[in-house]
């Protein structure tokens, strides 16, 4: 970490940031208002353009949301929708806030002044637990809805790079579960993500969850922060421009990247359950206490490219062990093993775009796979929820959002262009899944030129168990070789069983 930043961080880390209720321009409107929205990126929202199984109905209940990431409910039915501030990509930078809709219909917002933005939210006993990305570390904080007090629970999860926090979620054991994705996109900090990461966090790097030995395979790249394009060499688990040595041992840390943890609700007694999970953005626990985590595939481009790595859902088996008893975290493969269990340099994973990846770890830990579910590459699996009630049907099944591909940015394969953009229903015991909420044709509404589903990012069941709420991130398109996300285009969909 840069020394000046480190000094300031140590001074500031315990201090709360500004957060509190704020008036925002909300309006109740009739459904006709959705036919002519002022956002030309998404001028129409129309449930008729979507598809759910027979016996269910879908309606849009909120529109104009900006870059949302998550939602949660209080037991009384109060709804909290999290707007991520700066998310994917980092701009536009919108207010980071929580839209609150009370059972009476009254709406207000809780706004926070924080670099980066919130990514996950959970309600528990009158407090909101929030994961926040920004700076060199991800934080977990809690906000008391009655007193307005903000408390930092966790502030040491290595970040400053590409991937996201996961959770927090609470299990039936009352413990808090959370995650943090990898700092690097592909196992090595290289100039293939948004360059702002390198400018903001020039010394960020991945941290292993166990002692590892490096192969010394390094990667040459240009330095986008230098005035002249001379090449620099970078190794895995190293800051940019720092090569690794063959046989070098990197000590494992409890607060690693690509990790999944649990702790008491006050953030104490943190226990590392797993690492090597590239992007554990979606986390869900069923009634039996089994923890499942969604994860995204390695990309097929750049200096360490990997082809056809499936998206996946992992069963984090260590979550079933007694609290405090996990001595060795399980390893789920990042940065060297694909979700199908094959190494990144296997012939089936040789890229047609980019430089083929080589292993970073010498004698890696045992792989904790296989995955509970494999999905098509670049589906961008996101947040998930277990169905808690027969009132909706499919009790115990896992409903998983698929944000949708970033192709052709991250793969040249044409078939990837329509992967994702839907919600699936998965039986975690059998591994069988089927589409539950989709458009009438594959792909996002903006490509289909209709009013349907865009990019599902999170889902939650209402406290009465009758409805599934699906949070739609809004329009994010790949154009001119970059990702453009449009604020005020997010939608909240409500799916209810009718028969």
């Amino acid at each position: 970490m840069n020394p000046v930043y480190q000094e300031k961080y140590q001074k500031e880390r315990g201090k709360p940031f500004p957060i509190g209720p704020q008036n925002v321009g909300f309006a109740q409107a009739s459904a006709e208002a959705l036919c002519k929205l002022p956002t030309t990126a998404r001028p129409v929202v129309n449930a008729q353009d979507t598809k759910v199984p027979d016996g269910y109905t879908v309606e849009a209940v909120m529109a104009g949301i900006s870059l949302p990431n998550d939602l949660t409910f209080a037991p009384d039915g109060t709804l909290f929708v999290l707007e991520g501030g700066s998310s994917w990509p980092t701009r536009p930078y919108m207010p980071a806030r929580i839209i609150r809709q009370r059972p009476s219909g009254e709406v207000d917002a809780i706004q926070m002044d924080i670099e980066g933005g919130p990514r996950g939210i959970a309600y528990r006993d009158g407090e909101l637990y929030i994961s926040i990305k920004g700076g060199y570390f991800t934080r977990i904080v809690k906000y008391n809805l009655e007193t307005g007090q903000l408390t930092t629970l966790i502030d040491q999860l290595p970040n400053g790079g590409w991937h996201e926090p996961g959770g927090p979620v609470f299990g039936p054991d009352g413990l808090m579960y959370f995650g943090q994705g990898s700092v690097s996109q592909q196992g090595v900090v290289l100039p293939q993500g948004f360059m702002v990461d390198m400018a903001k966090h020039p010394t960020a790097h991945d941290v292993p969850g166990q002692d590892i030995t490096l192969t010394g395979h390094n990667y040459w790249s240009h330095d986008p922060l230098a005035p002249f394009p001379y090449l620099v060499e970078t190794g895995g688990f190293k800051p940019f421009k720092t090569p690794a040595q063959a046989g070098e041992v990197v000590p494992g840390q409890r607060f690693c990247s690509s990790g999944v943890w649990r702790s008491k609700p006050d953030g104490t007694d943190v226990e590392l359950l797993a690492w090597g999970v590239r992007n554990p953005f979606g986390m869900a626990i069923n009634e039996g206490g089994a923890l499942y985590v969604s994860d995204n595939d390695l990309e097929e481009y750049g200096h360490r490219a990997v082809a056809q790595d499936p998206d996946r859902i992992w069963h984090i088996k260590n979550a079933s062990q007694p609290f405090g008893s996990v001595q060795t975290p399980d390893w789920y493969g990042f940065p060297d093993i694909c979700a199908d269990g094959l190494p990144v340099d296997h012939p089936s994973h040789v890229p047609i775009k980019g430089e083929a990846a080589k292993p970073i770890l010498k004698d890696p830990p045992p792989w904790a796979g296989p995955a509970a579910y494999l999905e098509k590459p670049h589906s961008a699996m996101a947040k998930m929820a277990f169905c808690p009630s027969d009132a909706f049907g499919f009790k115990g099944d896992l409903f998983a959002c698929e944000w949708g591909t970033m192709a052709p940015l991250n793969t040249p394969r044409q078939e990837a262009l329509t992967h994702g953009f839907k919600v699936i229903r998965l039986n975690v015991e059998t591994g069988q899944a089927e589409d539950f909420f989709t458009n009438q044709s594959p792909g996002p509404a903006s490509a289909l030129k209709n009013g349907g589903l865009e990019r599902p990012v999170a889902c939650q069941f209402s406290p009465d168990g009758r409805s599934l709420y699906v949070l739609d991130f809004g329009v994010a398109v790949i154009k001119n070789g970059t990702l453009l996300a449009y604020a005020h285009t997010g939608v909240l969909w409500k799916i209810t069983k009718t028969a």
Binding site: Q28, S30, V61
Partner: protein, 185 residues
Amino acid sequence: MTDSTQNPVVLVELDEANWNRFLDRAARWFDNLLVVQSSYRQLLEDTAGKIAEFHIRAYLQEMAEQAKAHEQQIDRLYHIIGRDPSTIRQGLGTLLGKADQVVGDLMAASSGLAGPWQDLHQLYLSCTNTLSAFGVAEQLGLALGLPEIIDITFPVQLDKGRDQRLLQEFALEMAGLSILYRQAF
């Protein structure tokens, strides 16, 4: 089965009053953008006329043509949000005169150098200013869910990114000649 809702929908900042407030504020930024871009275009034209070296002069003249086109694109930005640029255009002459004065003051304070190097250096800074101003306009388009704005600002920024590098290069190439040798070019 799908169905359109009959229940009320919550609109977040999309109601007419709120949206118009956003658009009015965006229009005020476009005013800034127009002033900055017009000032840059005028400085380009003036500086090109002061430079004797053929290659640099030709590059600047080409940039000036492009700057005119970029300036015209700003009118389209106003139209996208249903606003009229005529008021700010009427006051543009006065504003540009003030901008010139600022440039002149800066030059007077900087070492009494002869020749067009100071103009060139000022041009580099002015180009950076316009690049930033178009970048801000792009952020407003993204924030308001209006891709038509990005369709304009994105290619302009690509042009300006290249121009900025070129102007930086010329300003740095000619710095030694101008500052140490006090030579014009």
